[in-house]
């Protein structure tokens, strides 16, 4: 069975002083982080349920178990910072400010979805929230992030881009090319590996002789590792990192250690040939980011059972409303089929060559 981290955060809190003070996160802010994590958990559970009854199709990759990673890394960012990710991105979009209604409607393939129902689970975009997608080719978003960072520096702005990828992405060539360029041009990018230990069903240790945190060292990019199941530590880490990068410190690389409680996608088994059932049960039970923070808040008398239940009820109502919104929204009509293939309609010549004659540009 894989090596697991077994210490409980409750004990840690008792032995190492006040965790909120230590990470510079007020209990009030921590309660907000708890609320976001709970929202994301309930959101993904609802997606799971909707997938099971056929309301969501295609591939659907859930983030359950990784809520601390999303909340801790994205909530410290500014509105004008950019986030770009791969295809396990529903909750990252929510964290960056995309509305739950728009994300759920996208999963349902509705016209009111973040991408008009054309992207689906893997391609959530929201320009106004500076959520830059939702990309389906492993590692494909990494050069894009470098380009966004290029624009920030080109225009002399002080925002940063945070680029998420799974642990499997670091074996793609584009990852190395993109990090090298970010390093030589000192671009304001934070490359974050959400290291849940498995690329689909292949354990990272089987496809890499070196540790994750070493992956950026050939390019001279400072790297750190943080426990994504500890949302306070993650929040503090990204708050400080974003400030450093914003001040012109150049790119950073983060090994954000986490664990996926579900299968790779809704079509995949939770455990089996690639990871033992006991491992998943153990991690799910003992390393849940929501439970860790709940225990700390309760230990410090910042939260009681009634308070927790109230938060849970509130986020469940948000999620239910999102599902209702999605359910009641129309599917994209036929007029949407040919829309937005092209941004620039040249008055001469045919752009659409299927001979069907339905497209607005012949």
């Amino acid at each position: 069975m894989a090596q697991t981290r077994t210490r409980t955060r409750g004990q840690e809190a008792a032995s190492a002083g006040d965790p909120f003070e230590r990470h510079g996160v007020t209990p009030e802010r921590a309660l907000e982080l708890l609320r976001e994590m709970l929202l994301f958990r309930r959101f993904e559970e609802k997606a799971e349920e909707a997938y099971a009854i056929g309301k969501i199709g295609g591939f659907c990759h859930l983030h359950i178990g990784q809520e601390g990673a999303a909340v801790g890394s994205i909530l410290p960012l500014r509105q004008d910072d950019y986030v770009i990710s791969a295809y396990r991105e529903h909750t990252q979009a929510l964290a960056k400010g995309v509305k739950p209604d728009a994300v759920m409607a996208e999963l349902y393939g509705r016209a009111t979805g973040a991408s008009g129902g054309k992207g689906g689970s893997m391609h959530i975009f929201d320009k106004s929230a500076r959520f830059m997608g939702g990309h389906g080719i492993v590692g494909g978003q990494v050069p894009l992030a470098t380009g966004i960072a290029w624009k920030i520096k080109y225009r002399g702005e002080d925002s940063v881009v945070v680029c998420f990828m799974g642990d499997a992405a670091v074996n793609q060539g584009g990852f190395h090319e993109a990090l090298n360029m970010a390093a030589i041009w000192e671009l304001p990018a934070i490359y974050v590996v959400e290291n849940n230990e498995y690329g689909m069903g292949t354990a990272f240790r089987r496809v890499s002789l070196t540790d994750m945190v070493q992956k950026a060292s050939p390019y001279g990019i400072p790297a750190t590792s943080v426990d994504g199941q500890d949302v306070l530590a993650t929040y503090a880490h990204f708050r400080d990192l974003a400030a450093t990068v914003r001040e012109g410190g150049g790119p950073r690389f983060v090994d954000l250690r986490t664990y996926r409680f579900r299968g790779h996608s809704m079509s995949d088994p939770v455990s089996g040939t690639y990871r033992a059932k006991e491992e998943v049960e153990h991690r799910t039970k003992d390393d849940d980011p929501i439970v860790h923070l709940r225990d700390k808040l309760m230990a410090g008398d910042h939260l009681d059972q009634a308070g927790l239940e109230a938060v849970d009820a509130e986020v469940r109502s948000v999620v239910n409303a999102a599902a209702d919104f999605a359910d009641q929204s129309p599917a994209p009509g036929p007029e949407a089929l040919y829309r937005h293939v092209w941004a620039h309609l040249n008055p001469n010549g045919r752009l659409c060559l299927d001979g069907r004659g339905e497209s607005p540009w012949r």
Partner: protein
């Protein structure tokens, strides 16, 4: 009008567009300090500085993707490939990112980017440096493909491509860079994409083509003229958008068509054009549409074999005679 090379016409287009719009920048291998592998970007580093004329590492996938990301965020990159043959490494970013971003984001992220560089064969560069790459790009909705054949077209079309809000694969030719011709000096000389150009007017047969093959077609037309055959030579200039009206007008006039392309025949540009012609001008055809293309083999090195592999004016003449039943 000024007499200049195709290379200098491209340079003038880049210079003018970079002066006009501060969001335009050029990135690629050897484009800055080396003045460009084919000297297209000569002097641009001095004129615009290293922020806007940028030497990249040899990382085609990486810098193509960087360009797409920069375009998502609002810039207008011009990404130079030393040849489109090297862009096979980058095609994931061109197709999966650049060409689909607008659609899968429901219109939120147009990608105004130009990928440019030479395509097709030069002389004895053999299999991995000689592919005519148009069809790989033109196949994909969301990607425009432009293939200028003359210095004037090179300038006017590159300016249009840079101003276009969609990804454009702008395909030049190594053997065209030294080609000289008259070029308007007007810094607003823009040729709209999707307008074919009748490079030569005739009435007996339509030779339809694009890119470097325009010159082969013109040579063939000159030979045919000696036999009293007058050929239309229609240069598509852009393959997407495709000037179908001009193709049909020519075919309706001559009733015979030969498509000449540097690339392979199977699912090539000529195949698509022939399909459109049979669909929309079937009754105007007096003969099957023929194509003159590269032999269906990787490009060989030996001069003897290379000559056999490439389209030639003689083959075009033969094809024209065939559709004329001569």
């Amino acid at each position: 009008m000024a007499m200049m090379t195709y290379r200098d016409a491209l340079n003038a287009a880049l210079r003018e567009e970079m002066e006009r719009d501060p969001d335009v920048f050029l990135m690629g291998e050897e484009v800055a300090e080396y003045d460009g592998a084919y000297k297209v970007s000569k002097g641009l580093l001095d004129a615009f500085g290293d922020k806007r004329v940028v030497d990249s590492p040899i990382s085609e996938l990486g810098f193509a993707g960087l360009g797409v990301g920069a375009a998502m965020a609002g810039l207008r990159p011009v990404i130079e490939f030393m040849t489109f043959n090297f862009a096979f490494l980058a095609i994931d970013q061109v197709i999966n990112s650049a060409s689909k971003m607008m659609y899968m984001s429901d219109g939120q992220f147009p990608i105004p980017i130009v990928f440019r560089g030479p395509t097709g064969a030069a002389l004895q560069l053999s299999a991995q440096h000689s592919v005519s790459c148009e069809t790989y790009y033109v196949h994909s909705p969301g990607c425009k493909v432009v293939t200028p054949a003359t210095p004037a077209d090179a300038k006017g079309l590159l300016k249009a491509a840079i101003r276009d809000d969609d990804p454009v694969a702008f395909m030049e030719g190594e053997l065209l860079y030294n080609f000289r011709g008259e070029v308007p000096e007007d810094d607003d000389y823009v040729i709209p994409l999707g307008v074919a150009d009748l490079k030569r007017e005739g009435s007996d047969v339509s030779i339809v083509t694009h890119g470097k093959m325009v010159h082969i077609a013109m040579q063939a037309a000159a030979k045919l003229e000696k036999d009293g055959i007058q050929a239309d030579v229609l240069d598509l200039r852009s393959i997407r958008p495709l000037d179908v009206d001009a193709i049909l007008a020519s075919v309706r006039k001559t009733n015979r068509m030969v498509y000449v392309e540097e690339g392979w025949s199977f699912v090539g540009v000529g195949a698509q054009v022939a399909h459109i012609v049979q669909e929309e001008a079937f009754d105007h055809l007096d003969a099957p549409v023929l194509r003159v293309t590269q032999a269906d083999v990787p490009m060989p090195y030996a001069k003897s074999l290379e000559a056999l592999a490439k389209p030639t004016a003689e083959r075009v003449v033969d094809a024209c005679n065939k559709v004329l039943y001569r």
